[in-house]
C-alpha cells in the first residue's frame, strides 16, 4: 500500500522566508532567555543530589542496638518473594530467637524491585541511598553478610554471638520442658 503525499501548499517563497525568519527569531528569544537562566547541571562526582528517603539503593540488614543482633531471623520470606533468586542465607539456630550466619545477595541480577523488603515481617532488610554499585569485577556484585550488615564484620560477629547466646539460653531452658514432655 503506497500512501501518496498530497501536493504541498501553494509555495510562496517570500512569505515562507519571512515567516521562517520571524519564527526563527521568535525561537531564538527562548534560547536567549535560557542562556541567562541558572544552569541545571549537577557536577556529579563533586556535587551530589540528596537521595529521597524512599530511594532504593544498596541493601542493608538492620542492626538492633537494643538486642545487640541483626533483626533477621533467617525465615527466607524475602528469598521467596524475590523474582530473580538474588537472596540466599544460612540460618543460625531455630525458633523465635533464630538468626543468620550468612546472608548473600547477588546484586548482579537484582531488579531493585523492593519486593523482598515488603515481604519481610521483621523489618530486617531495607534499601539505603547508596547507588554507586558498578564494578569491573563480577564477584563485586556479590554482597556477603558483612557487606550488608549495618556495622560490618563487628556487627556480624556480635550478631552470631548474641544468637548463639540466646540459643544456649533457650537450650538451657528447654531440657526441663523437653524432659517434662518426654
Amino acid at each position: 500500500m503506497r500512501t501518496r503525499q498530497p501536493a504541498t501548499e501553494q509555495y510562496n517563497p517570500l512569505a515562507v522566508f519571512i515567516e521562517g525568519l520571524s519564527t526563527l527569531f521568535y525561537g531564538m528569544l527562548v534560547t536567549w532567555r535560557n542562556f541567562w537562566r541558572p544552569k541545571v547541571t549537577v557536577r556529579y562526582p563533586y556535587q551530589r543530589k540528596p537521595m529521597p528517603p524512599r530511594y532504593r539503593g544498596l541493601f542493608y540488614l538492620k542492626w538492633n542496638e537494643e538486642k545487640q543482633r541483626l533483626n533477621c531471623v533467617g525465615c527466607t520470606l524475602c528469598a521467596q518473594a524475590c523474582p530473580t533468586d538474588v537472596i540466599s542465607m544460612v540460618k543460625l539456630g531455630k525458633g523465635t530467637n533464630a538468626g543468620v550466619s550468612e546472608f548473600t545477595m547477588d546484586l548482579g541480577r537484582c531488579l531493585f524491585c523492593n519486593l523482598c523488603v515488603e515481604a519481610c515481617p521483621f523489618d530486617a532488610i531495607y534499601m539505603g541511598p547508596a547507588y554507586e554499585l558498578a564494578s569491573e569485577r563480577r564477584d563485586a556484585a556479590l554482597f556477603r553478610i558483612a557487606d550488608l550488615a549495618q556495622g560490618g564484620e563487628e556487627a556480624v560477629r556480635t550478631n552470631i554471638e548474641t544468637v548463639q547466646r540466646l540459643m544456649a539460653e533457650e537450650e538451657k531452658a528447654r531440657p526441663a520442658a523437653g524432659g517434662h514432655a518426654g
Binding site: T23, L29, R54
Partner: protein, 381 residues
C-alpha cells in the same frame, strides 16, 4: 511493496536508462535515530526510500515465557523492562490484569494515586518523545530542554517510588505505600513551571517554520490504514480516530476526571506531534483534578501470601503513553499463570512503518520513526 521500477515500465518512459539500482542501506541496529536496537533495511534511490524492511528481535528476552514460570506477583518488576520510558504504565497493566483474574478490589485512594502516577509518567514519556524527536530533526536544544523538565518529573517519581526508571510501584491490590509528605504541593509546583515550559516549547519548536515544513504532510497515515493495522494511542488519534482507552473503557478513576482526547485529522507527523503536546496539557489537567479530589483511606488490599486466582482468563487494557497496552493472563488455579500475552502498542504501531516510509526521503525516515515513538523494549519483549 514497490521495488525499483520494472524494465518494461522504464522503457516506455525514457529510452535512456539512467535510473540507478536501489542502494541497500542498513539503518541500525546501531544507529543514532532508531531509538534502540531497531534495524531497518532500506532500499534507496538517491535520497528516496523505495522499500523498507524492519528487523526486530535484537532485544528479545522471552519475557512472556519467563512470566509463566513465576508466581503472579513476581512478574510485576519484569514489566518495568518492557516500555522502560513508562514503566509505571506497564506495572499498572499487569496488576490490573491480575486483579481482574483474582477479583481483587482496589481501595479508592490507591486508584487516585495510580491515576496521578500514570499521568506524571505520561508527561515524562512524552517529554522523551519531544526531546528525541527534536534531536532527530536537528533541534538538539529541544532535547536538553525536554530532558531538563523530565528530570523534574523523575525527581517527583523518585521521591514517591524510590526509583527513577524501573519503578515497580504498583502492586496487585493497590500501591505499596501512601504518597510522601507534601507530595501534592511539589507536584503542583512542577505543574506550574511545566505550563510555562510548554509555552516555551511551542515558541521554540511548534511555531518554527522549519519544524513545520519538516513535519507537515510527511508520513501520512490514513484513518483506514491506521485502523486496519490496529494502531492505537497518539498514532491513531492523529489520524482522526478519537480512540482512547481512558474514555472508551475507563479504568481506575478516569471516569471521574475531566479531560479531552486530542484528535487531529491530518494523520501526518505534525499531527502526531501535536496530539502528544496536547496530551501533556491534558495530563496536567488530570493531575490537578486528582490532587483536588483524592480521598483519604487505605492504599492496599491485603492479599494472601500465596496468591492463587481461580481458573479463568483475564484481559485488561490501559492507555499507556504509546497506545493501548494490554495484558492477557490465563490461570489454571495454580500460583503461576498458565499463559501470559502482552499486546505492546509500539509493536503494533511500528508495523505501519514500511507503508509510511515508501516514497519518502531518508531525512523523513527519522521524522516518521520518531513520530511513531517506539520503544524497543516493548517491541521485542
Amino acid at each position: 511493496m514497490s521495488m525499483p521500477v520494472s524494465p518494461e515500465k522504464q522503457s516506455t518512459l525514457s529510452t535512456v536508462d539512467i535510473l540507478s539500482q536501489g542502494m541497500v542501506i542498513n539503518v541500525g541496529p546501531q544507529h543514532p535515530s532508531t531509538h534502540g536496537v531497531l534495524r531497518l533495511i532500506l532500499t534507496l534511490d538517491g535520497e528516496q526510500i523505495l522499500h523498507c524492511e524492519p528487523v526486530i528481535g535484537y532485544l528479545h528476552r522471552g519475557l512472556e515465557k519467563m512470566m509463566e514460570r513465576r508466581p503472579y506477583r513476581h512478574n510485576v518488576p519484569f514489566t518495568d523492562r518492557l516500555d522502560y520510558l513508562a514503566a509505571l504504565s506497564n506495572n499498572l497493566g499487569i496488576c490490573q490484569c491480575i486483579e481482574r483474574l483474582g477479583g481483587v478490589e482496589v481501595p479508592e485512594r490507591a486508584q487516585y494515586i495510580r491515576v496521578l502516577l500514570m499521568e506524571l509518567q505520561r508527561i515524562a514519556s512524552h517529554l522523551v518523545f519531544l526531546g528525541t524527536f527534536g534531536t532527530d530533526l536537528g533541534a538538539t536544544t529541544m532535547f536538553l530542554y525536554a530532558f531538563r523538565e523530565r528530570e523534574l518529573v523523575l525527581d517527583l517519581l523518585e521521591e514517591c517510588t524510590g526509583a527513577r526508571l524501573t519503578y515497580n510501584w504498583i502492586r496487585v491490590g493497590g500501591v505499596p505505600d501512601d504518597l510522601p509528605e507534601g507530595f501534592g504541593e511539589k507536584v503542583l509546583g512542577f505543574v506550574k513551571t511545566f505550563r510555562q515550559r510548554l509555552e516555551e516549547y511551542d515558541q521554540l519548536l511548534t511555531r518554527n517554520r522549519i519544524f513545520r515544513s519538516r513535519t507537515q504532510g510527511i508520513g501520512i497515515l490514513p484513518k483506514e490504514l491506521a485502523l486496519a493495522y490496529g494502531t492505537s494511542g497518539p498514532v491513531i488519534r492523529a489520524s482522526g480516530m478519537a480512540y482512547d482507552v481512558r474514555k472508551a473503557a475507563p479504568y481506575e478513576v478516569y471516569d471521574r476526571v475531566e479531560f479531552d482526547v486530542p484528535v487531529h485529522e491530518q494523520g501526518d507527523v505534525w499531527a502526531r506531534y501535536l496530539v502528544r503536546m496536547e496530551e501533556m496539557r491534558q495530563s496536567i489537567r488530570i493531575i490537578e483534578q486528582v490532587l483536588r479530589d483524592i480521598p483519604d483511606g487505605p492504599v492496599q488490599t491485603k492479599l494472601p501470601k500465596v496468591f492463587k486466582p481461580p481458573a479463568g482468563i483475564a484481559y485488561s487494557r490501559i492507555e499507556s503513553p504509546r497506545g493501548e497496552l494490554s495484558f492477557m493472563m490465563v490461570s489454571d488455579g495454580s500460583p503461576n499463570p498458565l499463559r501470559v500475552h502482552i499486546r505492546a502498542p509500539s509493536f503494533v504501531n511500528l508495523s505501519v512503518l514500511p507503508s509510511l516510509l515508501e516514497g519518502t526521503k531518508v531525512a523523513d525516515l527519522v521524522a516518521i520513526l520518531g513520530s511513531i515513538d517506539v520503544v524497543l523494549g516493548e517491541i521485542d519483549r
